[in-house]
Amino acid sequence: MNRIISPKNSQKIMETIFWASGIFTVFLLILVIGYILVNGLPVINLNFIFGQPIDNGAAGGILPFIISTIYVTFVALVVATPLGVGGAVYLAEYAGENALVKAIRFGSEILASIPSIVFGLFGFAFFVVYLDFGFSVLSGGLTLALMAMPTILRTAEVAIESVPKSYSEGSMALGASKWQTISQVILPAAVPGIITGVILGMARAVEETAAILYTVGAAIQAPVSIFDPGQPLPLHLYTLATEGISMPFAYGTAAVLVILILVITIVTNTLVDRYTKKMMGR
């Protein structure tokens, strides 16, 4: 046995490396979030959140951008949720294992991995120009819907599939039709999982920038009609930072975005936690 390092020592060395990599990953998150919050939180106050922007956002507040974010996200979810959940029910309950199902799955996989700027290109060519929706909340929201849909579909499918088979058998044995069983037994049991999927899709819509760069416009005023242009927070942050309008406000906007995403993540985790506990019998 002429080894340079004994198995025992290599075990110790590797264990140290693994611990270090884990701790380093935590450090990375703290570094990014911490830096943004430390510099951004002092900027945030009621005026900043609820005020109107002055000089392209160099002063004043970011209310119109917050409203834009909520508006496009809402449009995206209204479109993506029925498509995603419906698709999930179809895949989980109606479709067998055939070529069509494989194609649907591969399609949703591609949708999930297409670069967001390509969605942006498509949104511009199709919604803005071809359907003539112009730069608007509608064009941006629909583009985001396409991105959020695969997330909702996949999460909802898992939720529906994890509903115990005995539930649907119990219902069918009582003479319920397939749709009655799905709508009254399976879907209610899967609701927490479906909500998780919708929230995850929401997170994707809230944080996205490239896809709305050339679909939603860049208005300073808050959109009223669905055909008005807007400027969601990520887009606003991009403009602030790259055009050198106001660094403190860029930090503030970044902090608002980070807090939004953190809140969404925490809400999802709590939901999932409560759901799993409930399924395990408290």
Partner: protein, 291 residues
């Protein structure tokens, strides 16, 4: 409506939503090609892909420097991200005590959830100045982009690899330990090889994410169309090229940007096909036969 009819109707609606993802994909591909193909046909496939000059003012459209830029930033990001995320996923799946897992899991979710524009902003205010001070130049560089991409693809690679490691049956672990192997020998010789197809898939998907990232890269890469002489020089990626010029492009220039989209789309679909093939292969070999 009778129950039977209602069932049929519902099934039809669900079927329609089910195939919507296929229809959307087809629609996206069709539109990108519709707008992009004229450029490729007019410029010539070879001139477009391998052209070294991108100069819309003079009607010259070659994306080769952008292809190099995308590959370079992606590969360097993988160079950093793969070792770190594999160590981290092994840590999560095999070594970390429960309370450490409780910290790490949300951490990875957090890293995945941070908006790319925030990453870009962080790069702009931290990494770019750091590079400028320590390595000279403007600080907008291949390396700056790669470092930001590293952090962005960590969660993808970590979470998919962790799943792959966890799905290795516990029996293998026990069998190896019972033969007197150390935990590291067990991981290296049994668990890791068994999880390899999943880990490769994780890396491919991480690669896809790096190739497709736009906002973060645009904010730190410098966006100069050139084949960089070193990793400290600025570079432009395929995605940035689209995002930077869509705002004012008209005519053939507009089509050339969609053609850039065709290149991106093709690369991503090829990567996905490879990932699917590896998973398929794995299912076949597990059943028996020769390894």
């Amino acid at each position: 409506m009778t129950e039977k009819k209602e069932d049929k109707f519902v099934q039809w609606v669900l079927f329609a939503t089910g195939i919507s993802s296929i229809l959307i994909i087809i629609l996206i591909i069709a539109f990108i090609f519709r707008e992009g193909l004229p450029a490729i046909l007019q410029i010539g496939f070879f001139n477009f892909i391998f052209g070294m000059v991108w100069n819309p003012d003079n009607g010259i459209y070659g994306v080769f420097p952008m292809i190099v830029g995308t590959l370079l930033t992606t590969l360097i990001a993988l160079l950093f991200a793969v070792p770190l995320s594999l160590c981290c996923s092994i840590f999560l799946a095999e070594i970390a005590p429960p309370n450490m897992r409780k910290i790490l899991k949300p951490t990875i979710q957090g890293l995945a959830g941070i908006p790319s524009v925030v990453y870009g902003f962080f790069g702009l205010v931290i990494i770019v100045p750091f590079m400028r001070i320590h390595f000279g130049g403007s600080g907008f560089s291949v390396l700056s982009a790669s470092l930001i991409l590293t952090v962005m693809i960590l969660p993808t690679i970590i979470s998919i690899s962790e799943d792959a490691l966890r799905s290795v049956p516990y029996e293998y672990n026990e069998a190896s330990l019972a033969l007197g192997a150390t935990q590291w020998q067990t991981i290296k010789n049994v668990i890791f090889p068994a999880a390899l197809p999943g880990i490769i898939t994780a890396i491919i998907l991480g690669m896809g994410r790096a190739i497709g990232e736009t906002m973060a890269v645009i904010m730190v890469a410098g966006n100069v169309v050139q084949i960089p002489g070193s990793i400290f020089e600025p570079v432009r990626t395929l995605t940035s090229n689209i995002a930077l010029e869509m705002g004012y492009a008209t005519g053939i220039h507009y089509n050339a940007l969609f053609a850039t989209g065709i290149v991106l789309l093709t690369v991503i679909i090829i990567l996905l096909l490879i990932a699917n093939y590896i998973n398929y292969k794995k299912r076949v070999t597990i059943g028996g036969g020769y390894l």
